[in-house]
Subunit: 490 residues, 2 copies
């Protein structure tokens, strides 16, 4: 028996005897090395062995822990109570955006009520159908094809062009570049048109990562007020173009994150016309475009583009598969810049997921899946709106979404979202406080709720709890007496 096997056997024995129990932290590699007078390599090898047997697990930045019985291979999966568990990572209210996102994601992994998640429930996706293609596309794929390199797999590009066409956007396939999700697409857009120091307009409130990327690239975010009725304020945008020398604007016209609203057709016309008039590039985020509740797909800003000034970013992550991170962009006149940036950011996009998705799109099941997905989300939206109206205190305001899976809720006057966030986390309920979507102080009065997950008794209980907490916070703030409703879309 080798040294590491012997150490592993000792630890496994302690677990079996119950000396080390589920969730216990075991010695760090360094401690164990000193304690047993073994080399660091030997200890690591022993821990790897125990990990591969499912007895222990490593947690980021924390160390090694004894795994729960039901999580071990061969054990029956046990039901995890949804609302009951506060997670370590989620306990402290963190305003740092990256930590907050990671905390939210980890809380989903571990079973809290994921109202704070920015992602749709992955169970909504046809994973087994997609997975069933993996073997055959793997076999067919010739190794030398280089379909990973920009612009990406030609068949996937063709299928994407076809899909856009079906949705009313005539796009030249030569304008499509495949990316690692819409996140990379948006980053490439920003770098294609803006240098460090440049000013870029973003909506306020808006999606966190774009503002993070602007900071990372040394660019300046100019926040333009955006509301759930009218969308981005065009007068203020034009003023910023003139006064701040904007080099681009990033806009999400359909089912905006976090507002959930869709820009009217006339507002889209006016926005694109404004950008053309000033010859400023417009970066469109279209990741929720397929998640409409009405009868027909919403129009894009890109469909109004006359001279390649609009770049459109999209992905399959919100409507087909979140774990494959396949996105794309329509480059407009910036194709050469985008291809070069893509090369130096990730070189290429993994080819196997591209082939799997292309194959799925060829099979014509996509429309059927999307219809079901839209029906589900639309139903959940109605249930969420009804529950918030029922459980939340007077003075709560909300918009009825007409697409996507996110509900924007205005708390009674004076109630701070961060206070609610902290109290909810203590009870194992995640939510997204408005503060993270921009620097406008009025955002501190809003929360964003994800309604894509299955509706259970826990969901109702968690919303009731949230409502009670909001009510406690509202007491003595002079909050309004009645529910009011944000005006519906025009």
């Amino acid at each position: 028996v080798k040294l590491y096997e012997s150490l592993a056997a000792d630890i496994a024995g302690l677990i079996e005897q119950g000396v080390l129990r589920e969730g216990d932290r075991i010695q760090s590699v360094r401690q164990a090395s000193q304690h047993h007078n073994l080399s660091v390599s030997t200890v690591i090898r022993a821990y790897l062995l125990l990990e591969s047997r499912g007895l222990i697990e490593s947690r980021p930045q924390s160390g090694y822990f004894v795994r729960a019985m039901q999580a071990r291979p061969g054990a029956e999966p046990a039901a995890v109570p949804q609302a009951a568990r506060a997670t370590e990572a989620a306990r402290a209210p963190q305003l740092d955006a990256a930590k907050l996102i990671l905390a939210t994601l980890r809380s989903i992994r571990e079973g809290s009520v994921p109202f704070g998640s920015p992602y749709p429930d992955p169970e909504l996706f046809p994973s087994s159908r997609l997975n069933s293609y993996a073997g055959s596309v793997g076999r067919q794929h010739p190794s030398g094809l280089m379909a990973d390199l920009p612009p990406g797999d030609p068949e996937l590009i063709r299928q994407i062009a076809r899909r856009h066409l079906d949705n009313g956007l005539a796009v030249d396939p030569g304008e499509i570049v495949i990316t690692v999700g819409a996140t990379e697409a948006l980053n490439l857009c920003l770098q294609a048109v803006a240098r460090p120091g440049a000013a870029v307009a973003v909506e306020s409130p808006s999606y966190i990562p774009v503002r993070q990327s602007l900071a990372r690239f040394g660019m300046r975010a100019v926040e333009i007020p955006t509301d759930a009725v009218h969308g981005i304020d065009l007068d203020l945008l034009e003023r910023a173009i003139v006064n701040d020398g904007l080099v681009a604007a990033v806009v999400m016209p359909n089912f905006q994150n976090p507002l959930g609203c869709r820009m009217s057709e006339s507002h889209k016309d006016a926005l694109v016309a404004l950008m053309h008039r000033h010859a400023v590039p417009l970066i469109e985020n279209g990741v929720y475009d397929e998640l409409y509740f009405g009868d027909s797909p919403p129009s894009t800003l890109k469909s109004r583009d006359r001279d390649g000034l609009v770049m459109h970013c999209n992905s399959f992550s919100k409507n087909l598969t979140a774990s494959q991170h396949i996105g794309w962009m329509l480059t407009g006149r910036y194709r050469a810049q985008v291809e070069a940036l893509k090369l130096f950011n990730t070189l290429g996009t993994p080819v196997l997921p591209q082939l799997v998705i292309a194959q799925y799109l060829r099979q014509d099941g996509y429309d059927f899946h999307l219809r079901r997905l839209r029906r589900h989300l639309s139903q959940q939206a109605r249930m969420m709106v009804a529950a918030v109206r029922r459980f939340f205190p007077p003075g709560t305001r909300l918009a009825t979404p007409d697409g996507g899976y996110l509900l924007w809720v205005g708390l009674p006057a004076g109630v701070k979202a961060l206070a609610l966030f902290a109290r909810a986390q203590e009870r194992g309920i995640s939510l997204a406080p408005g503060d993270i979507f921009g620097s406008d102080p009025s955002l501190a009065n809003y929360i964003r709720l994800n309604y894509s997950y299955p509706w259970t008794a826990d969901t109702d209980a968690a919303l009731r709890t949230l409502g009670l907490l909001a009510g406690e916070l509202a007491t003595g703030t002079g909050a309004g007496k009645d529910h009011s409703t944000l005006p519906a879309r025009d």
Copy 2:
């Protein structure tokens, strides 16, 4: 019959009758739309149909072309003469790095002699074995696992830790983050430790993308002379730390690209000690570490790291699969920063390729594959060295590589690599001119040759041509009379 079908049938007819021939450019979408008085959508739909039937193809930034017969589905694959074809993209000597890389890649796609490629021949990889796992891992993968999110799939992380251990590097799996290739890993490292405006040391000559990324992030590259015998100059590096306020250095200690050399053990010790003394982070590029020709793996800088100051970047792209772009890094003390940056750069890494590679590594075929790969590359290295000695003019200098797949060749004094590059491209031979690896003017006298591709009569012929061209350029430059050899590694 619909309008687009009718247009497609008309064009297909013209191709069949030979009116439109292989390689002919067909009307642009806009032209066809005006000419036939059809909507742009109808024309795009017709072109998509023709493309899906394999009759036409779109070429980036060029338009639509009639496809070659042999490239059409159902047609017999014809042998493509390797040395005979100069490609459109490769015709003009381009110093712009992105264009050069794309041109080189496209030239490989289209069959020129790929001495200029930065990548190993993909035929060397066990693609069908990897592909055979795609179906089963796809079926097993539970959709909600989120193994795509940082740090990545736990099983792949475990296998990578095990592999490092086998190669003599004891690494805590908690330090590993999966990335989209080593390219993303290097970008995350730079952003984790340097802000826009900061100075970062790079080797001169060195790998292009790091310098490109520094420029993109608004950072300053300080080029430190590096030679094939001693590696990076430590005196000059220390001086730059003091005078330029370096915040990091990027170094490739083993089989450096483009020099092909391996740093001595004592030089590695001294480098890491120097960086620790000044508390400056060291970013190690280890992508060729598995491609050693000796009996045992080369040591890493990371194995000398005492306090988390060394970040190590690596990938499977140079030794297992190039098209999946799965890399990783050892974060040292920068794990939190790296995870946050990863979230905002690509959010996650596609999960299917991670699972396929993890499964492959579990099966124990990796060592066998690598032994064969190393044997092949070592043999090819000897053949390439012999051929260059034989065909190139007196005054040519070269180092005998002891790993990797790249040969660094000094041309006779006065011979400009770019002149050779241009003449070679006219003959369908690609090579990498030294100029692209840094701003030191002496690099203009060197070329880098890739020797991973199968050795054929075309290879010999192409090297003979290169040697003749170099000889013509050397005439009258007073070049040396004899071959000399760059000293071998100590």
